[in-house]
Symmetry: none
Subunit: 419 residues, 2 copies
Amino acid sequence: MRCEIIAIGTELLLGQIIDTNSSWMGGQLALAGIDSYYQTKVGDNQARMVESLRLALSRSDAVICCGGLGPTQDDITREAIADVMGVKLVRHDWIADHIRTMFEQRGREMAPSNLRQADVPEGATPIKEMPGTAPGLICPIGQQVVYAVPGVPHEMRTMLEGTVLPDLKQRAGVTSVIKSRVLRTWGYTESGLADLLADRITDLDESGGATIAFQASGIEGIKVRVTTKGEDTESVDGRLALEEQHLRELIGDYIFGIDDETMESVILKLLRARGQSLAVAEGLTAGIAGSRLAAIENASDTFRGSLLTDQPDIRQRLLGLSADLPPISAESAEALAVGVRQHFAADFGIAATGYDGRTDVHEDHKPGTVFLALATKDTVHSAKVILPGDRNRIRQYAVISLFNLLRRHLLDIRSPAVL
Amino acid sequence: MRCEIIAIGTELLLGQIIDTNSSWMGGQLALAGIDSYYQTKVGDNQARMVESLRLALSRSDAVICCGGLGPTQDDITREAIADVMGVKLVRHDWIADHIRTMFEQRGREMAPSNLRQADVPEGATPIKEMPGTAPGLICPIGQQVVYAVPGVPHEMRTMLEGTVLPDLKQRAGVTSVIKSRVLRTWGYTESGLADLLADRITDLDESGGATIAFQASGIEGIKVRVTTKGEDTESVDGRLALEEQHLRELIGDYIFGIDDETMESVILKLLRARGQSLAVAEGLTAGIAGSRLAAIENASDTFRGSLLTDQPDIRQRLLGLSADLPPISAESAEALAVGVRQHFAADFGIAATGYDGRTDVHEDHKPGTVFLALATKDTVHSAKVILPGDRNRIRQYAVISLFNLLRRHLLDIRSPAVL
């Protein structure tokens, strides 16, 4: 089973938007065991869209078209598919009702052009998931199929996971299962991990049991992805579990989470289990720590709040930071952690100070020098790290390192912290 | 002159790397006045690379191949191009010497496989820029041309700017210039804008003076992009300025910025010009407002800080929010705005309360109901909006709408606010 992807939009060709959708879809197809040999970007031009579709159908069994399903005049994916199918567009009542209802629920006027989105190629079926006003489509052409999904990433993903991938797998009669598991780490560099796991990777290359890949992902940590293939879910899950165990022996407690677990979800879960709470003083971390925590479902059970400010007068008045302390120092980070813990009446307070490459800074620190501090009811301690990268990267690394300081405390980890 | 781009690498198809190179090259081609109608990703497979090259040459004058020029066995771009040219690979002495010298300069041993990179299709010329060990190539095929550049972004960019783009422009005899300008709006929906500008778009389609495209970009607003082409930079700039004026007459003060200006950069700039400052109370907006503001260069000149918390006791103690007020209401939003203004001793305080789809919520509000409030020294006022989308989208729209409330106040805008 081969499936091509056609990403539609002149703005993609002009580089105004980077086509991340095709990359995500390519990854999903690979995990579903479906080959994808070509991925094409084409502009909002009907003749060229039709040519690309015909070419794709000449060499693949299925095509996913992404984009061009909006209500405006340059959204012509529906027309192009109808052309290739040799059919007309017909108004689809279910979709039209759905769009009307969405506008009513929002208490907004529906522009007449919105109903263009309900015009679909004759014979096409709407994809049942419809998180926005753009309907996805399943368009059969003989034994082949063209899917149309919107270019809005979350809408595309919902439709791919809910309908397109299951439909493709069923058509392909896919029985082999490919699965992967991500071990998220913090503490080793990417090349440090590669060295640590070199022998294991060589063994796996020879036995063909699994593949291992690394991915440095900023605030998400450095990911170690294990992928394996087998007859059924059970055997694949068993192999993944075994390999995870091998890798845990090598990497140890630098592994902080699995798959979608982020550092912040891990610390909030640990806090919830203990009935304890957290507060954050932000400055260097520029609000990133608070927004990462608040994005977690039910964060407010354990996350008491964060105070974001760079102003010395406010830090002094609200958090009790003495004006005498050097702003970038272990002492200041500790004072902020203690102060913010009290400000929000939390069990733990955390804070970072540091040099993120801006100019208003002490000369005696290297770029990327960051002091991380953690205050409990009775204690306060801090750690100094030197983080690589530009300002944005230093901030992100500071946030995950700060959260990791709390994780290590909560789990009583005593191995040396590298980052 | 048409130029296609072929990005080469199985890791691109699998989504392990996002193809940002093609996007950047597409933007550069557009600015050079060269059309690029197709961009393709293909894996490290010689037959499919050859097929893609032949197809590209059947419909374009030039092709840029990006990637697959390294020393390892899966780097086969050289072989694929030689196949299409119908020639052999020959060792190129200048390149071989260059690679040897680079290794010597870095004090590293050269693996014999590295000299594979000096084998080029007979008749090909090396690109003079060579920042790494992978040489770029100019491969003439009759009146057409295939360029090969490495996938390492900075190496690719150096070669494109230094050789490929000038060579393409010379071949094309290009004298024309293409430029675009983005008007960022907030207040109309995408389809509302399309309706508003429909006549203007029709006029432009007929006159060919410019093209207009829309892009809904979440917290970045809804973008209206005008693109135009002309003999020289001056005439193009003049046409863009004229078209901007036309669109401003239609869209009015719903336009908040141009090109890279964000809503937060606009309000901080307005505040700076007045020597005034801002504080934010966050809850519904989940720290997004503070982190957007803090990410702006020199934000701390005008952004006093933000307090992020969902805890009623803290809001009561720190911001003076009465426990008697319904948490999701205009009154609560106003009280938070007043409280946070005082907490941070700022000129303006802003805050939002609302229903973002979570469960702990009043039943008498529709999903997406948000109350936005702005407090000044002497006044406080609020606005109710109903925002579409999932939780994350509602939060993002709440943030840009909240910033817009302040922008409208600072500019004394009295037209009705739609969002």
